[in-house]
């Protein structure tokens, strides 16, 4: 087997080892990479910045712990921005493994900003069948959520007084790791005209750009880069995503190098063939 053939049949464990080193080494070396903001992330930031104290925003935490790395940083930054501005937040989760994790996020932020459940925010919890739940909230939040996550009847909460459906919300910011994003676009925006912005995992992001063109969503934050952009705009102190971007840069260089090496092997071994 010649050199170029060897390049083509490289042991995959070499690639894994290279990737592990590309992730581990930069974690211990202090350096930064510039983060440029994009219009689709800026529009979410500007939308929240233009909200007034007491305005209401629906926050959907629709991701499992396996997508936490990408979506948690942006959820944290946006909720911090909202709480700092005195915006009232209505949390829901439509992903089955998310309720406990969402509760952790909500209680952490409420302690940080000294906000009270039922007064400054409400965590409505989880209900299965996302499409039907989203449609039912368009009629009345109480259909799917007669009680909040902790079992308190929502009608007994000051924050729920006078709140009926999406007409009482400024928008929904949905953090998504699956097809529930489609349900928000189709049912909340398509049927009830609720403005929707999405925070998505990197894998999903490319598929949802057309919805910006069609104005079915007003903003999109894609993966760790989207989170890092938002941290930059919000001047966040706890810059988890921004710290991750330096590692992303190195790993992407490694991936590109492997693609180049693989292609050199492919074309050169093809050329050698009679």
């Amino acid at each position: 087997m010649g050199f170029y053939e060897k390049l083509m049949t490289m042991d995959r464990r070499v690639v894994y080892l290279a990737m592990a080193l590309a992730v581990a080494v930069p974690l211990f070396i202090p350096f930064q990479v510039p983060i440029h903001t994009t219009p689709e992330v800026k529009s979410v930031y500007n939308f929240i910045e233009n909200l007034k104290e007491g305005d209401r925003l629906l926050i959907a935490i629709d991701y499992d712990p396996n997508a936490m790395a990408e979506l948690h940083p942006m959820a944290l930054t946006i909720c911090r921005q909202c709480f700092a501005k005195g915006i009232k937040l209505f949390f829901v989760t439509l992903s089955q493994n998310a309720p406990g994790m969402a509760e952790q996020l909500v209680s952490r932020l409420s302690k940080e900003f000294n906000k009270k459940n039922g007064v400054d925010y409400v965590y409505l919890g989880y209900k299965p069948y996302p499409g039907l739940v989203i449609l039912s909230m368009g009629q009345n939040f109480r259909i799917s959520f007669p009680m909040d996550y902790y079992g308190t009847p929502v009608d007994s909460m000051p924050i729920m007084q006078g709140i009926r459906n999406y007409d009482d919300m400024k928008a929904v910011i949905a953090f998504e790791a699956g097809w529930v994003a489609d349900a928000w676009i189709q049912d909340a925006n398509g049927r009830y005209k609720l403005p929707v912005a999405l925070g998505l995992t990197g894998v999903m992001t490319a598929d949802y750009y057309p919805y910006i063109q069609s104005k079915q969503i007003f903003g999109l934050m894609g993966g760790l880069k989207g989170a890092a952009e938002y941290e930059t705009l919000a001047k966040a102190k706890d810059r988890i995503a921004s710290r991750g971007m330096k590692v992303q840069t190195i790993t992407h260089i490694v991936v590109i190098l492997f693609i180049i090496v693989g292609n050199i092997g492919f074309f050169m071994s093809k050329r050698k063939q009679p």
């Binding site: 790395a69 209900k127 992001t205 079915q216 992303q248």
Partner: protein, 208 residues
């Protein structure tokens, strides 16, 4: 970091390493961790479903509020379990039929509107070369048309038609490339989070 946190995070660290071990080769540690994830997820979901659906949507309305019409969807739900019996599995078709009927009735008009008509309208925008926005609209519409031509197989892809189809392939390739790049970013993000967790644990517990 308290003792409890050290133990639980230590277990999480061990499980993380068990999962990573598949990268070398299949082994019993990976299998244990894999089965544990599936088991814990299923158990967690069952409990969540009980407290967030059965209690507020069945138990409270029927037992406490005496709204007995809630028993109709409950009965349909129970009939789903008939699938486990060979003799009575046909009964489960009734709830499935009801669920599909409702689902399709709700989804079809909305899907037509949001996934076909609105995006179609977004492709039909003013186009031109006088501004970036107009040129962008031209690129989008041109790309969509070329990609559609590529999937038109009733005419041979030769000559001008073949050229347009080739532009369609390139348009699709650009889309796939963007998707691949973002997928790499997504997967690397998960790796970064796990490595950061390992680093923080080692720094906090062992002082490394």
């Amino acid at each position: 970091m308290g003792t409890g946190e050290i133990i639980w995070n230590g277990l999480a660290l061990f499980m993380t390493l068990c999962i990573f071990s598949i990268l070398y080769r299949d082994n019993p540690f990976y299998r244990i961790a894999e089965h544990l994830v599936v088991g814990v997820s299923a158990g967690y979901f069952a409990i969540i479903l009980y407290y967030t659906s059965f209690i507020p949507k069945v138990w409270v309305p029927v037992v406490h509020e005496h709204k007995f019409y809630y028993l109709v969807p409950t009965l349909l739900g129970v009939l789903m379990w008939a699938r486990f019996s060979r003799k009575w599995s046909w009964v489960s078709r009734y709830p499935i039929a009801a669920y599909m009927g409702i689902g399709m009735g709700v989804a079809i008009p909305v899907t037509m509107q949001t996934l076909i008509l609105v995006p179609l309208h977004a492709t039909m925008q003013p186009m031109g070369f006088t501004s970036m926005a107009l040129f962008n609209n031209l690129l989008v519409a041109g790309g969509v048309l070329c990609a559609l031509v590529y999937f038109f197989f009733s005419k041979e892809h030769t000559g001008a038609f073949g050229g347009v189809a080739k532009v369609g392939i390139w348009t699709l390739m650009v889309g796939f490339g963007a998707g691949f790049g973002l997928t790499v970013m997504g997967r690397v993000s998960l790796l970064i989070e796990r490595f950061t967790f390992i680093r923080d644990y080692l720094q906090n517990v062992l002082g490394l």
